[in-house]
Structures are given as structure tokens and as C-alpha cells.
Symmetry: D2
């Protein structure tokens, strides 16, 4: 079942094939000079995958407004089709991450079948206790897993357990827990008691986690809480993973840190202490802006991948991070943004692969700061697009995914089929 | 027409009167030692007023969720009643600032009468081109006054002109223009052409401004745009006011600056160059958090008022700033938050009034940094609550506004009369 | 042995005694209304102490310049005299914290005697591996405890061991380790290997720590390293203390965090997990500005003390933090700055003591965010200066330390005795 | 007069020539596909120049320590030789910017001759009133051009006038004024009076400015002042340039802004209003870190150049910015850091030149945010190193400047000739 016509892809690729071959050949020559086998890099890139969030294919918004796009998905089945488009063109996003209750359906079997038909698997499940679902007994206005009231905490625990149950039926192997719990004013909550309650609730969820699952806790500095947040940074996140046990890991969202923070260093620390669970990729300039990955500070993204490749190559113990995009697409076509973001993480990965690590280690040992930093810059400066494009093409995807997508007219088609969604929040984590 | 029973206020005050008299007397004695007449300070505080934003009495939210409160106002008439409660208890908020189209009504005469009956006047008008109104021809998804499309800009200009027209009928004397225009990605817009279009559109609005009106432009670093914002800081804001003319001024929202920025210095600069139009008071820790004024960094609020009182006392040319609260009340009763915030600005004003400016100037000239800073701290440390409470009581308000409000049972009463508002954004500037 | 004449203090106090008595009495009446015994608060404040850093009594500077003050101390004996002045007037700083090698002397017995004669004890020892001492074999240009070279690490370990030895002879019971190790460029060092080396070196130091000593590691976001810092935040700091063992604790310097970070929450976390070692108090607006404590954001200081008093009152396990000032006095008389800073920490402590914790807990359990935050603000707004002044006076100190200090003419006196120090860094941690 | 042997350069280039030709040819083919003539780009790059600061060739430091390097220049003659090395190898730095009094000499004629012999001209003069020179009558501890004392201000004015005089004799055409004036504590100075005094002093300097000179004022958020800075941001800087007159312009140092600030937008605004004077290039992560240009966030540097090329191509009125590096080299060989930084600005310029501006404008007008941002990214992703290297080689420089420099053994040579400089600040703006 193809969402995008193979013919369109073929026709678009045909127009770009000649240039790609030439560029790939020359890049291969350049890399060979540095002792790198371009095909080996390409194979690794081809094997790389990043999950797409189901909510990412809808148009996002801010507290001020949401400006709907055309042909927005009406439900998880529509969303899966949009996700399939992304994977068909990029060949880099074979799984989808669901958000409950937004993606809840009565017939899970049908959902699983739809995924299979589209060639999509199901990644980590995401629970939602940062907003109230219609008919919900206890409100999360003042918190969920850390709420002062035991019944509210119990309800939040049960919701997470339900997410696990749904995930088991779909073949997921992980639960991601991000909560908005926190306060807007000094004194509103007792930091210590809140965190004790949170840990107790997370332990209750953990007890329901299947043996082959992992649980990811996600930290965030602020928003929706504006004075304090229960899981505010990686320090607290590490304590959580440590308290819960060996199936518990920390998730890093690139936009969830204080200004100026060195994120790649946090990544290195979590790897070193065996607690890096994975990523929510996006980019940001001010706060949790949820912009397209690599669109604001591509070098920072590269530096994160430099740590990941380093850990991969030295086979760091327990290193198996989950990769997911997590963005809010307020002014672009969400499918386009997710395609280019998938490409950006592939790019950073490829650039990480071509770092001359032996030379780097030598410069580090010699305190040759200039050449050490130039070694990273040399990899980053390399235009690896031919590698990415060749990997996509060989896997049946598009040399230029956005161009092929536009040529296929997918958005126009679904705009005709799907009525406009007015108002309503996008639910962006 | 009273929203809060005079009897309730009287009964509540009676319980606190003795302590207040004692505290006021002792504070008077303390201030007298410093050569300050407490009654003179009280008179100035009693004459001080800050406007309440109509949208502030509704419960706010974030892009993740809005958790409605009980008895939320259904329309501008309900909002005026809530605003009246605030003024009756604090005696510090005699005017309301409207937001169009949210507060648009068919019968402006009825609205004006309602205000008069409640003892409320109408402050600056606020236009809205940061969200799309139902049925609007051109969307503001990609901007309004700076939009690439001339028809969209024209529509935005016309909306602002309409705001002026409405304001004229209500007795307002100012228009506040805050736009969300900006971009999420490098390259999305040309900074220069966008700003040229913005200036052109503002000039068109300015041409409709009555002679006895002022127009306030408001800067903001980010949100809803996450890469660039057209009116991003006071530098750009100053250029706008300068380009427009003598009726144009800059509005300062305390939460709209980059991290660590010295806001009181910006206030001083705008005063010095004759372009300080006024304030949107609130407090924040991370971004435009819109928390209750003075709740996070009360000393910063004091330092802003230190500049204002300084300008007032030296009769700085053209100095006549408009004061308004602008907050988002996500976890508190909005009426309570606005009452205490009104109190906080009065407090900062009173503390500013008791700064020993002659001594301060002497320390400054002598480069006695320690005593200069201690001079400000001494004023800030003084607990001026007795002055505020006495001013309120003498004007018919409550010694303890929140306590009196709770005793009066207003929220319970309106909760019975007004059905719950589910979903929908709060539209918080 | 008195550095400040008792007569001067007595004369200065005599002029202020009447007002103090009146203010203390009225504050007692106010607090009694809230169920608080002012004398009990005063007794706690009188028992409170904060250490003074030996390097704090010299004039500090920036990388651009250091502008010497008059009468700067020439050596640790002069510094002790200056520290004695601070304690005599404030009665709040009975101990001094030394920095090696700056305070190294050939005759430790003489140093201990001098301290005893001045009524001063010796607090935590501070090592210095962030600058090179004359004649040092291996340079710390590229790191110390985490240096790539084993001999350099060994030298740094030995220096710390020497600090312990010196401290043992002086009666100190703790070693504070702050290092500047880090990098200026991506790639300059391997995050993981650097931290492994650091941990190994710290373990070597730890093995030399006497049983009744504690070791404090101190985190800092940046400076002197401008891309990455080995001990960059409390997360890494916690991991260090955990790896080292039960005598290892985390030190929190208020100026060492990323912009906007909620420091009081970090304090609460470290208390909860038994690893809060103590503080370096100061204030800051931008980075590690090392300004006088409480001079920029006094409410933040109060919120930190709110956590400390909370832990003290609930007798949190293992809670026994060390308190020290750590500031750079570039434009004030260091003695004056340290006196007022000592007063500010006493003030925050006193304000923490008068928080109505029972009411606060009730508001927290009821999610009454407004009244919870007002409960803290009510304590903060209370002008507790009469309590502090009375405690000082009763202990033989000055009602107004700065006024008494100036009246005593100490600075003029030492300016005549001590030749001007030109150039040279101040060595400010 | 060559500092680096032509033979060494030739030999080094010979080893890289083959690869360069191949890479240049292929890049030419790629660019031709996009309609770009690589030779035309190369010619513009070859004509591009950035000034080197004389103080940049010494090793910098922090307030904690300075770790000297080998063979540091002893005086301005040594510095000129080091600067000549940079230019000989990069062919991009034909001028040097002096700092007075550090570079003051008795025989200006000899200095000018030395520059001429080395093929170097003299760029903007830099005054220094942020530190005290030996024997100076009035100290700048509490300010210079804004000092409360008129005699101190006069001395600072006279120093700037002297800088102009020296510059006239050397052929400079501009004066850069950066002052450290500001305060460490609220209240220490009156913002308004300080700025009035500053403006008055600058006007006095301006009156001495030759007709064919420009004066650049430079803003900075903080450091060495940690509460307020007189020229704190571009808003104030613009006011200064406006007040002074048409020869006055604003200088932008990339590291002098608040966290998260959009610097390229400030650049665009200053261009639009005719007041962009030039740049101090460097990179930073936290504050004014003064790291090597492009080493932390190369995309940001590109975005700045995107504005510059845009202005250049549309021939913006009055657009003629001065370009200078301004860095502190604490852990690298200063010559190496300056060479690669010169290369980085050339790189950003080249990338700016290959932006498809026609396509970009079209996407902007269509609100095609994705393709607009991809248009910039496409230029940035292009590895333009072959253009830079070819331009250097053709002008007689090195294909790989750092490699050639190391091969030439210059540092070893001067280390033998120049005795080590111990202590002393580096004086980094």
C-alpha cells in the first residue's frame, strides 16, 4: 500500500540522478583521501531510523492561536497515512509513536493492521496527564503523578498502565512519561513532598512494565509550569531512572534545557552512567520552541550525534537510545517539516560517522585544542547530502523528498478528503 | 451598584482595624525618623491607579491545556462585573482595558453605561491581529501588519482603526498594538522588508489616531514566533515610536525581554528620550510567563518603580506612563490574582516614594556604591503594607482584599450563574 | 584582641538604641499576632554563623582590570585582622575559610594562634588548581584533576592532600574542591574520559580525607572554561558525591547556574538525597558575578533559606550545610560588603524562620496557590532588621555595622600601614 | 619582508594542490548547476579582508588565571610580525587594529614603516579607559566617559583624542570606543545622568574627529560591570550614533548580547537605519567568551553574513561596515586561532554569496517557510573550502594555513627570541 505513487518518485529521481551520481563519486573520492569508505557510511545511514510522533502530522499552535493547515488528519488512521508518506519518501522513519488518549481507538487490531499495511511499526507509547480528557474524574490542573491528592495520582498511574496495555497489543516496547506537573508560584507546592509523590507513582507504573519494555522519563525546564517543574532537568531525571530500576532511562528533548546549557555534555554523562534512553529531536532558539530539527543550530545537533557515534563505536555499555522527532509545525506543512527533520538527523549521524576519531583522540591527549576542534568542524563541513540521497534512492525513497512530495500532490488530495479542523489545541509535547 | 456587599467589607475591616492602626502609627514613627511624612505617602498611593485587562478575569492557559475555573465571565459585561469587584476591594483599578474583537458588542452605549454604573472607566484599547477571528477574510498565520500580502496588511490596519472608533465611543484615549508577527525559521522573511511593511501599516493607523490619543507599540522577544519577531526589543520599539511621531510611545511588558536583561535601565532610557508610553505589569522567571506581578522578583519591580518615581519627582518631560496589569491566571482565581497584583504595584510605588533621593544622589556622586545600594534596599525592606491598607480602607476598600473577597462568596455566586467554559484559548497578551 | 574599639561601637549603638527598642517592641507585637515569639527567632539568628573567605577581604577584579583599594591585606595575617573586624561588628562570622597556596605560611602554629587571639576559627579549606603557582612543575593550563596527563593529575591530587594536612593543623573539618577544568572548543576533550579521570583523582583525594572531615565538590556552568566545564551542574556534582562516598557532598554557589534556573529547587533535591554540603553565598545578574549577597534578587535568597529552614525544622536526615560567603568586591570596601552580606544571610534566615509553615502546608494540600505564595511573601515582606540588630547588639556587635566601621576609621588606619597592592589578580572563586 | 618562508608555503601547497584542483572543479560543476559562477565567487572572496587586533596575538586569560604561551610578542613591533604571519598565510588580514596605550610607541614613523615593510596597514584605533595606565591621574574604577567627576571624564576624552592623533599619523580612519562604564549594584549610579555625561563626553571626542574618519561605539550587556552597563545594547548604541552625527556608527561584537538574542536581526536593523559601523567577530556560548569565530555556532555567523551580503547586493545606503576579529586566545596558539577565524569569516561570506536570493525572495513572498529556510541551509551546507583555499593560494597564501604555519616552525623560532611573559592581563575587548 503506497501513499505516494512510485512513478512520481521515479520520475523525480530520474531528474536528479545524474547530478547525484557525480556528487557521490566526488565525495567518495574526497572521503577516500581521509581513509573513509563512503559506501560503508552509506550502509550505516541506510540502517538508521528515527520515529515520527503521531501528533506531529497535525498543525501545531501556541497559546495565542493555532492556524490550521489544509487536509489535517482527522484521527490516528489519517495520521498513519501521513506518517507513511514520510517514510516512503525518506526511508528513515519506519515507526510511529502514539499519544494516548488522542490516538485511542476501539479496534486496536485494525490499527495494527493499518500500520502493517503501510509498512509502519509502533514505537514508544506516550501518556498524557498534562491536559484533561473529556469526562475525566479528577483534573490535572494542579498536577498528575505528583498531585497532592492520592486519587488523582492513582488515576494518572492507571492511565499510564493503560498506555502500556495498548502498546503491548501494538508491539511497542517502551513508555514515555512526560508530565507538566509543577508550580507557577513560590510556595505553591513543597518541592520534596511533590517529588516523593512523583517517585511513588512512577514506581507504581514501573511495576506494570513488561520485562522487555523500557520506561523513559523526560525532563523539561519550564512550560506549562512557570516557576518550578517537578522533573526540571537531567539531574532530577537521572535520580528518577536510578530510583526506578534498570528498565528506567532518561529521555532528552533538545528544547527542554536552560539557556546556554551544553546539551551534548548531558548526553555524554547519561551515556557514561548507563541511563540515556533516547531523544526527542527538534530545534529551538528561546525555549521549547519545537522547531524543525537542525533549523536553528545545526552544529549543536552534530555535536550531540558526535557523542552518539562515539558511544556506538566504543560499544558503551547499555547504549541503545530511542530516536524520535518531536516538533510543533505551526507555519509549515507538517509532512514536509518531518521529512526534512528526518533528513537532518540522518545528516548529523552521517557527519558523526566521518569524524576522524583516532586523530581526534590524539589531539585531545596532546591538548591541541585547535586541531581537535578543527577535526570536528572538518566532518561537519563535509556536505554529506549525496550519501543521504543515495541511501534514500537505493531504498526506494526520493532523492529530494520535498520536491517529490509536492510533485505527488498529496496535500491537495487530502485537503479534498479531510474537512478543515477549526480551533482546538494541537497537543504538542 | 456594588458587586461586593459593603457590610462584608466593613465586617472584615473591623477585625483588622486595630492592628492596622497600631502598625500604621509605628510605621509613621519610623518614617518620621527618616524625615518622611507617612500621610503624604499615603495620599500619593491613594491617587495611584493601574488598569485591569478585560481578558485577565478569565482563566488563562498554555498551548498544552487550559483548565477552566468556576464562574468564568461569559462576555464583556460579566468581565466588567469581575473588574468592579477588584476595584471595590482594592480601590486601585478604576479602569478596564478592552480587547477587540473579544470584547466587541453591538451596543456600545450599554457597555459604557455598565462601566459607569460599576464606577469603571475605559483604558487603552487593544487590537488583536495575532489570531484569526471567525469569518475573517485574510489569515494572520504569516503575519498581520507586516504580512507580505497588501490585502492582509490592509485588513489589519482596518481592524486597528475600528478599535480606535470603538474606543472613542467608550472614552478611551489610547491604542495598544501588540502583534505576533515574526518567523519560525531563518530565511522565512526578509527582516528589512518586513519592518518596512510594518512601519507603513503603523503609519496608516497613526493617521487615524485622534489628536488627544496616544498609540503604544509593544515589543516582545519571542512567542508566538520562535526565530524572529518584528518588534523584538526596545531598540526596534523606539525606532517605531520615533518614525511614527509625537503621539507614539513604547509600551514595556516586564516579561518580554531576553534573559538577564536590565529592564529598569530600558525604562530609564525610554523616559530620557521621551518615549515611555506605559507598562504591562506581570512577573516571570523564564519567558513571557505572565505570572502575578511581584510574585517572582519583587525587587526588580521595585527598581522599575524607582525609575518611575525618580522621573515623576524630577518632572521628566513628557512623562505620563499608562499602567496596566497583563497576566495569565492559570492556577489561581483571576480576581484574587489581579487584586494582589494591583496591591503589588501600589507597594512598589510606595517603596519608590520613600527612597531618600537626596542621600542617594550624594552617594552616587561620591561613588559610594555600598551606601547607594543600601539606600534603595532600605526603602525596599520597609514594610509599607500599613500605608496601602490604610489607603484602601479610607477609600472604602478592604484592608485585606482577598480575605474580604472570600468572605463575600463572590466566586461561588457567579459559579452558580455562569455555566462552565470548556476548551477555548484565553488569548493572553 | 579587638580590631574595632569597643567604645566606638558603644557610642554608635547608643545613638540607635532608642529606635531599635521601639522597633523591636513593635515587631514583637506584630509577630505575636501571628503566633511567633520574637525572642525565640532572635536566639536562632544569634546562633547562626556564616564563614568569611580569606580572599574576600582583598579587592577583586575582572579580566579587564583590577582597581586596588586602600589598605589591602598583604598576607593571611592581615586578612585575619580584616575578618576579625567583620565578626566584631556583625557577630555572625566566627570562622574564616582559607585558600591554598595563597594563604600558605611557614608557621601554621602562629596562624592558629592569631586566629584564636582574634576569636576566629578555621572553616573549610580551599585548594587551587585553577591557576599556576610560581615554580609549579606541571601547568594547569589544560586542566588539573581531569588533565590528560597523569603527572599533572597527581600533582593536583597532592596539592589537595596538602590542603587537608594544613587544615588538620588549623582545626578545619572540610575541603572544598572547585576546579576550572573544562574546554573552550567542541572536541578539545572527550567528556567521558575527562570525567573518568576527574573521578579517579577525586577518589585519590578522598582516601586521604580524615574520618571526621567532609569534602565538598562545587559545580559551575562556565568560566574560566567557555565551552564545557567538567563539573558543570548539580547533576554532575551529585554523581561525584555519590561515587565518592558518604563524606562527599555538593556545594552550591548561587552564581554558578544557567540563566533562569530554579536554584532553590536544586537545594531541595540535594537535601532530599542527602548530599547538600553547603553554600557559597553571593548574588548575580548575568553569570558568576560574585556580587554582594542579596543585592540583586533578595527574594531568591529568601527562597533558598526557606528550603534550609524547612529542612532544619523537619530535621532532614544528614542535613548540616556549611555556609560561606564567596564574593568579589570590585567597587566597594570588601569589609563593608562582607558585613552587609553576612547581614543579608542572617536576614534571609530570620525571614525563613517566621514563615507560617503549618498554614503553608495546608494551602499546598488544598492547591491554594495564591495563599501559599502569599504566605511566603508575608514572611519576606516583614522587616526583620530589628531582630538582626538586637541580636548583634546583645552579642557585643554593632546595631549598624557599616556606620560603626566608618566611625572607627579602620580603613584609613590600615591604608597607612599597608602599602598599595598594584596589579595582580584577586583570585576569586 | 616575509615572516614565513615562501618555500615552505610552496612545498606545503604542492602536497595539497592536486586535491584542491579536483575539489574546486567539482564544486564549480555543482555551483554551475545552481547557476553560480565559482570564479566570480572566488574573486569576491579574494577581495574580502578582515582586520586583526594587535592584542589578539598575545595569550588571553580570565580573571582566574592567564597561562602564558611560548614566544609571546613583547611589544607592538613583535605583534606586527605575528600579524604579518597571519596575513602571509591567509591573505585575508591586510590591516591591524591598535590599542592605545598598549601599542603606544615613541616613534610612530618607525611603526608605520614596519607595517609597510610587512605589507600591513592600520585599521581602527582602540582607546582604553577600562583599566588604569601606570601614572594616570584619575582612576577609571568608577567609570570613564560617564564618570561622576568632570576631571576624570576630561582625561578620558583627551585619551580618545590622543588615539585619533596617533591614528592620523598611521593612516587609520576610525576610532572604536568601548568603555567598561557601568555599575555593580542597583542605585550605584543614576542611569540617566550617567548617560547624559557619556553623551556629552562622546560629543567632545566627536568634535575632534577628522572629516574622513568614523567613530564606532560598541555595546555590551555586561562585564566588567555586573548590574548595569552604560552602553548595554544596540538600542542605546543606536541612540548614541544618532545623537553624535553622521560620522558615528554602531559596532557589533557577536558576544556582547543577552542569551538567545537574534543578532542577525540587530544587524539588519542597523543597516536599515544607516548605522551599522562594523563588527568584532568571535564566537561564544555563555557570555563574552571571545572564542574563535565560528567555533561554537557557525550557522549564526552565516546568518549574519547573509544579512551583510544581502545589503551589499542591494547596495543599501551608507553600508560600508568595518570587519575585525576580536578574540581571547587562552588555550590555543593565537596566530593559529586568528588564521582559522579569518578563514571562518571568509567562509561565511562565501556561503552568503551563493545564497539563491531570487528564489529566497520568492519563497518569502509566498510564505513558503520551509523552502525559504532550506534555501539558506543549502548555501550553508555547501563546502566552500575549495573556493577559500584557491583564493588563498592564488594570492600567495597557504592552502592549509595552520599546516604551513606549523611546518614553518615560526612559534619555536620566536619562543627562542622572546622571553616568557609572566602574569599581566591580556586586555581583551
Amino acid at each position: 500500500m503506497n501513499m505516494i505513487s512510485r512513478d512520481v518518485i521515479a520520475a523525480e529521481n530520474a531528474r536528479r540522478e545524474g547530478a547525484l551520481k557525480s556528487d557521490y563519486a566526488h565525495l567518495g573520492e574526497q572521503l577516500a583521501r581521509r581513509g573513509i569508505d563512503i559506501d560503508a557510511v552509506k550502509r550505516k545511514v541506510a540502517a538508521y531510523a528515527v520515529a515520527v510522533p503521531s501528533w506531529g502530522v497535525g498543525t501545531g499552535g501556541t497559546r495565542f492561536a493555532r492556524f490550521p493547515g489544509a487536509g489535517e488528519p482527522r484521527n490516528i488512521f489519517d495520521k498513519l497515512e501521513d506518517c507513511a508518506v514520510i517514510h516512503e519518501l525518506t526511508r528513515a522513519t519506519p515507526t510511529v509513536s502514539l499519544h494516548i488518549p488522542w490516538d485511542k481507538v476501539s479496534d486496536l487490531g485494525a490499527l495494527k493492521e493499518k500500520g502493517a499495511a503501510l509498512g509502519l511499526g509502533f514505537d514508544a507509547m506516550n501518556s498524557n496527564t498534562f491536559s484533561d480528557a473529556p469526562g475525566q474524574e479528577h483534573s490535572y490542573k494542579f498536577g498528575s503523578l505528583s498531585h497532592a491528592d492520592a486519587a488523582t495520582r492513582r488515576q494518572a498511574v492507571e492511565h499510564n498502565v493503560e498506555c502500556i496495555e495498548i502498546g503491548r497489543k501494538l508491539g511497542s516496547k517502551a513508555l514515555t512519561v512526560w508530565i507538566g506537573d509543577g508550580t507557577n508560584f513560590p510556595g505553591q507546592a513543597d518541592f520534596t513532598r511533590s517529588f516523593e509523590r512523583y517517585l511513588e507513582a512512577m514506581k507504581a507504573i514501573y511495576r506494570h512494565l513488561p520485562d522487555d519494555w523500557r520506561i523513559f522519563s523526560e525532563h523539561k525546564m519550564f512550560e506549562p509550569a512557570f516557576y518550578s517543574t517537578v522533573v526540571q532537568d537531567w539531574g532530577t531525571n537521572y535520580l528518577i531512572a536510578k530510583e526506578l530500576g534498570e528498565k528506567a532511562y532518561c529521555l532528552v528533548d533538545l528544547g527542554h534545557h536552560a539557556p546556554n546549557v551544553n546539551i551534548e555534555m548531558i548526553v555524554a554523562r547519561l551515556i557514561q552512567f548507563g541511563k540515556l534512553g533516547g531523544f526527542h529531536f527538534n530545534d529551538s532558539k528561546y525555549g521549547d520552541d519545537d522547531l524543525d530539527t537542525g533549523s536553528i543550530d545545526p552544529y549543536r545537533l552534530f555535536l550531540v550525534f558526535n557523542e552518539l557515534v562515539n558511544a556506538e563505536e566504543r560499544k558503551a555499555e547499555g547504549f541503545a537510545p530511542a530516536h524520535m522527532l518531536d516538533q510543533s509545525h505551526n507555519v509549515t506543512d507538517p509532512i514536509e517539516s518531518l521529512m526534512r527533520s528526518a533528513t537532518e538527523v540522518c545528516r548529523a549521524y552521517a557527519q558523526g560517522l566521518i569524524v576522524d576519531r583516532e586523530a581526534l583522540a590524539g589531539y585531545q591527549d596532546d591538548n591541541d585544542a585547535l586541531m581537535a576542534s578543527e577535526t570536528l568542524k572538518a566532518a561537519f563541513r563535509t556536505d554529506v547530502e549525496p550519501i543521504l540521497a543515495m541511501a534514500r534512492q537505493e531504498a526506494g525513497g526520493a532523492i529530494d523528498p520535498v520536491a517529490a512530495y509536492r510533485a505527488a500532490g498529496y496535500r491537495t488530495k487530502v485537503a479534498n478528503e479531510r474537512p478543515a479542523v477549526v480551533g482546538g489545541g494541537g497537543g504538542i509535547v
